[in-house]
């Protein structure tokens, strides 16, 4: 029952997406084009996030740790190494 509800909900959500982006009004080939574009963009964003976010997080983490330690000299050195 829950799975069916979930499925209905997802379908409803998809309908809302179609209505808002007007893909509800498109011809099948236009829909294919539109969804291909959207999915490609989404995939690229996710992939970029996967590649770069861990690096950014780790450097941010390091930076904040150094700030907390309040060693002026190390702080400067770290800034330099950036």
């Amino acid at each position: 029952m829950d799975i069916k509800n979930m499925k209905n909900y997802l379908y409803w959500l998809f309908c809302q997406f179609e209505l808002i982006t007007c893909s509800y009004l498109m011809e099948p080939w236009e829909k294919v084009l539109f969804y291909t574009f959207n999915i490609t963009m989404l995939f690229m964003v996710l992939y970029t996030a996967y590649i770069y976010v861990p690096i950014h997080i780790s450097t941010a983490f390091q930076f904040s740790r150094i700030l907390c330690s309040k060693h002026e000299t190390t702080y400067l050195v770290v800034i330099w190494t950036f």
Binding site: L19, T21, Y24, L25, F34
Partner: protein, 560 residues
């Protein structure tokens, strides 16, 4: 000079002159109450306009939610991009071009199909075209039969399947009093007149076309409106567009509401008079224009305007709002201008005895200089009328283009009007007409209240039988029309050229012929579709349409 409005505001107890009775509400500017209640409390924005209004005037326009506006633009953006893609493909013959294009030998002429309206028709309207121009095959009463049609090429062409969709609840016809019938006294009388007089005389009123029926109709209409004299025309649109040029001309000034119907706009333009537009139903804007017109006169020469004519409508068919007639009349008297009132939608539909917006506000019909209206809506017939002083009507009989050149009205149509007007006036010895007017008022209140409770954004005055329900997004226009038809309810959806681009709406027109069961079924389906399409945008924050940016208006007449 002591201004009573100011005095009351200082005293803080009596009702203010042009605003509401609300002393002690948060922000008060020129008498407007702005309240932002908690989202789930329903507050009607009530403007009791001092001594001018004899009844509460509840008119509210909810703001478009920001998110909805943004998403609507996103939708139009996507469609526009695809429109350019399709146009590109048509240009390079990748796709078959089905729309009108320039002929080969006219390629170097001024392009005909490249403006935005054509782009819109080709690429946006065409996708949802099936919601418009649906052919019907029965009398458009409370229920209507529709011919089923399908399109195999995405709405470029339609083919009929031969099936008929029966008993669709008709929420789209301007059949306010339910006189669109093929049975009953009106039909019988019209049939009798048809056999007696024939379908029509192919001549104008000034030549051979003047029949006793026309004279009878005009006398009756004058009596119905409470004016000295009236004149009937065969076409409502032409009544406006041809009579305004007869009334004003060069050196005159027309002050027109920004949402006036195309016929009024056309008439005003044809007249050659200077046209100035005031904000919709905004009396401050109107007064400012009037004041400027009196003070500055005509541009360059500074001569005074020959005439100043104010053009307003009774009910605005797109917004469902009712004109602030008491204020307009007060301003008209104060500034000694003329008033042209188009009662196309309000005649029959408003007022305790169905005599239109003048009756609704309990005003004197003599105060309106030119009363115009149509027989198309409430009376289930065709044509239009103009009522007013005898001198005015006599003048129009001689000088109006539609009086001189148009063929006279068809006698059976005239008879339909005569019987329906007599029915409304109670002169047929029954109370059917009165009951219909009351039924319409009840239906209107009920339908509007239920829709508001459901959480839709509804525009307009609570007494107006035109009920616009906001849809906003382009895909929802098509989806709403289709889903409602699937559920056997015929609705009218309105999109871009008729409304601002983001304010697409569905427009319900209530009728006295609708029974409570029909309305309940329609409301149930609307509720369902509203949930399906997420149309319940309302946050119940009602703000007045007018922001009143101008000075406070006073309605005292100047001493002569």
């Amino acid at each position: 000079m002591e201004r009573p409005g100011r005095a009351a505001a200082v005293a803080g107890a009596q009702p203010r002159a042009n605003g509401c009775s609300g002393a002690g509400h948060g922000t008060l500017r020129n008498g407007y109450v702005r309240r932002f209640p908690a989202p789930d409390t329903q507050v009607d924005h009530i403007v009791h306009n001092g001594g001018l209004y004899k009844r509460p005037f509840n008119e509210a326009f909810e703001e478009t939610p920001m998110l909805v506006a943004v998403l609507t633009y996103v939708g139009y953006g996507v469609l526009t991009l695809f429109g350019y893609l399709r146009d590109f493909m048509r240009q390079w013959k990748i796709e078959k071009c089905q729309n009108a294009t320039e002929r080969e030998e006219q390629k170097d002429f001024v392009p005909l199909y490249q403006d935005f309206e054509n782009f819109y028709t080709r690429n946006l309207y065409m996708r949802i075209r099936d919601s418009w121009n649906r052919p019907i095959c029965s009398v458009p009463g409370a229920k209507v039969d529709m011919m089923e049609r399908v399109s195999h090429d995405y709405n470029w062409t339609f083919t009929y399947t031969g099936r008929v969709i029966k008993d669709i609840i008709n929420m789209g016809s301007y059949n306010y009093l339910g006189f669109a019938q093929n049975t009953g006294t009106c039909q019988e009388a019209a049939a009798k007149v048809l056999s007696q007089y024939g379908a029509g005389v192919c001549s104008s009123r000034q030549e051979m076309g003047n029949l006793d029926k026309h004279e009878e109709l005009e006398k009756l209409v004058a009596r119905f409106l409470g004016v000295e004299s009236a004149m009937a025309y065969g076409m409502g649109f032409a009544t406006n567009s041809m009579n305004i040029p007869a009334l004003v001309g060069k050196g005159c000034l027309i002050l027109s509401d920004e949402l006036n119907h195309a016929s009024l706009v056309l008439g005003a333009r044809l007249s050659g008079a200077t046209i100035r537009i005031f904000k919709h139903n905004n009396m401050q804007s109107l007064e400012k224009l009037l004041k400027d017109a009196i003070v500055h006169g005509q541009p360059r020469t500074r001569r005074p305007w020959k005439k100043i004519l104010i053009l307003v409508e009774g009910i605005y068919s797109m917004e469902g709002s009712i004109v602030r007639l008491p204020e307009v009349i007060a301003l008209k008297k104060k500034y000694k201008s003329y008033l042209y009132l188009d009662e196309a939608h309000s005649i029959g539909a408003l007022g305790p005895s169905g005599r239109g917006v003048v009756d609704y506000f309990g005003l004197n019909p003599e105060d309106v200089d030119i009363m115009m209206g149509t027989f198309t809506k409430s009376f289930g017939a065709a044509g239009g009328y103009i009522g007013g002083k005898k001198e005015l009507i006599d003048y129009l009989r001689t000088y109006s283009h539609s009086a001189v050149y148009a063929t006279s009205m068809s006698p059976p149509v005239v008879e339909q009007i005569i019987t329906s007007v007599k029915c409304i006036m109670g002169e047929d010895g029954t109370i059917v007409g009165k009951a219909r007017v009351q039924q319409l008022a009840e239906n209107t209140r009920y339908f509007r209240r239920r829709l508001k409770e459901m959480g839709f954004i509804i525009y307009g005055n609570e007494d107006s039988p035109v009920v616009p329900l906001m849809l906003y997004m382009p895909a929802k226009i098509g989806a709403f029309g289709r889903e409602m038809l699937k559920r056997n309810i015929g609705v009218v959806v309105v999109g871009f050229p008729a409304t601002p681009i983001i304010e697409s709406r569905a427009r319900f027109c209530l009728s006295a012929a609708h029974t409570k069961e029909m309305l309940d079924r329609a409301l149930k389906e609307i509720d369902e579709v509203g949930d399906l399409l997420q149309l319940k945008y309302s946050r119940h924050r009602l703000v007045p349409l007018l922001d009143r940016p101008f000075d406070e208006t006073t309605y005292e007449e100047t001493e002569d």
